[in-house]
């Protein structure tokens, strides 16, 4: 547990919870990043401006980190081909399962949605198995 960073983790989590609450009170929406991106890729989506402004805020936060706290954007752990496979799986899986860490993990669990609790347990377990296989069996990163 030598890398345990409880205070930044808790503070960052509070900010994520505040953001989700702001989006709920202002727009009445669940803050689900995969859903926001996925909606922009579909013709029938009506709230494009909302999604674009939210995702714009995310990108600007990253740009701010480049200037103010570059270490916050950590080093990659996977090779480019493995990253490409990861991206495909994350994109396909989050759309098939209707959510990711934000929509299911934070917003869904907060409102005690059974679907989100089960989805979160599922992706934590398969994520854990994947890291175990890659790190301890195959010997990658």
């Amino acid at each position: 547990m030598e890398n345990f960073t409880p205070v930044p983790a808790l503070v960052g989590g509070l900010l994520i919870g505040l953001s989700s609450s702001l989006i709920l009170v202002a727009h009445g929406k669940v803050t689900g990043i995969s859903g926001f991106v996925g909606g922009l890729l579909q013709k029938c989506t009506t709230d494009r401006a909302f999604r674009a402004f939210f995702l714009g805020g995310l990108l600007v936060a990253g740009a701010g980190a480049v200037v103010l706290a570059p270490h916050a954007l950590g080093q990659p752990v996977a090779s480019l081909p493995m990253t490409a496979a990861a991206g495909l799986l994350v994109g396909f899986g989050t759309r098939l399962g209707n959510g990711c860490t934000s929509g299911h993990g934070v917003c869904g669990i907060s409102r005690q949605s059974t679907r989100s609790v089960l989805a979160t347990i599922t992706f934590m377990v398969t994520g854990g198995i994947t890291v175990f296989v890659v790190r301890h069996l195959v010997g990658g990163f």
């Binding site: 953001s19 689900g32 990043i33 936060a61 994109g91 899986g93 934000s102």
Partner: protein, 162 residues
């Protein structure tokens, strides 16, 4: 106009939260998922902090008749647990474990200009489009001239618009 400000502010706050918490460092994510190695429980506290705030705020906010800029709340109401939910979550988890990025941190890391984050976001978008296409083909068997061409299949994934 005001609604654009809250949408942007929400994204900015979310991104800062991800950066502060360590979610944008892939090694912290894989360290959390690596229960059998040198386990880093930090991300459990990220979830705890976020859920702690939002679970309380959710209850208070839902007492309002409507949100500030919309006439109704758009919160999912589905209760059924189906194969798509679990299969999708399982596939997502594998991808999350492989590179240590979920969608939010992947996008937030784009500004860093690394090839890794660019490849992640590009392939994530491709994966989403592939899922939409698969769903479309499954929902429109008539386009393939198959035996079910006279039957209309209801959209099985109402959450897609969200």
């Amino acid at each position: 106009m005001k609604s654009h400000v809250t949408a942007f502010a929400g994204g900015l706050l979310f991104g800062v939260g991800l950066l502060v918490s360590g979610m944008t460092e892939p090694a912290k994510v894989t360290g959390f998922l690596d229960v059998s190695g040198a386990w880093d429980p930090s991300l459990a506290l990220v979830m705890l902090g976020a859920i702690g705030v939002h679970a309380v705020a959710y209850r208070l906010i839902r007492r309002r008749p409507a949100p500030l800029f919309e006439s109704t709340f758009h919160v999912p109401t589905r209760k059924d647990v189906d194969g798509k939910l679990l299969a999708g979550a399982a596939i997502f988890g594998v991808g999350w474990g492989l590179a240590g990025y979920c969608p939010g941190p992947g996008l937030t890391s784009l500004a860093g200009g690394s090839a890794t984050s660019a490849v992640f976001v590009a392939t994530m978008v491709a994966g989403m489009l592939l899922q939409h296409l698969t769903q479309y083909v499954l929902n429109h068997p008539s386009r393939n001239g198959g035996p079910e061409s006279n039957r209309s299949i209801p959209v099985a994934n109402p959450g897609l618009a969200r």
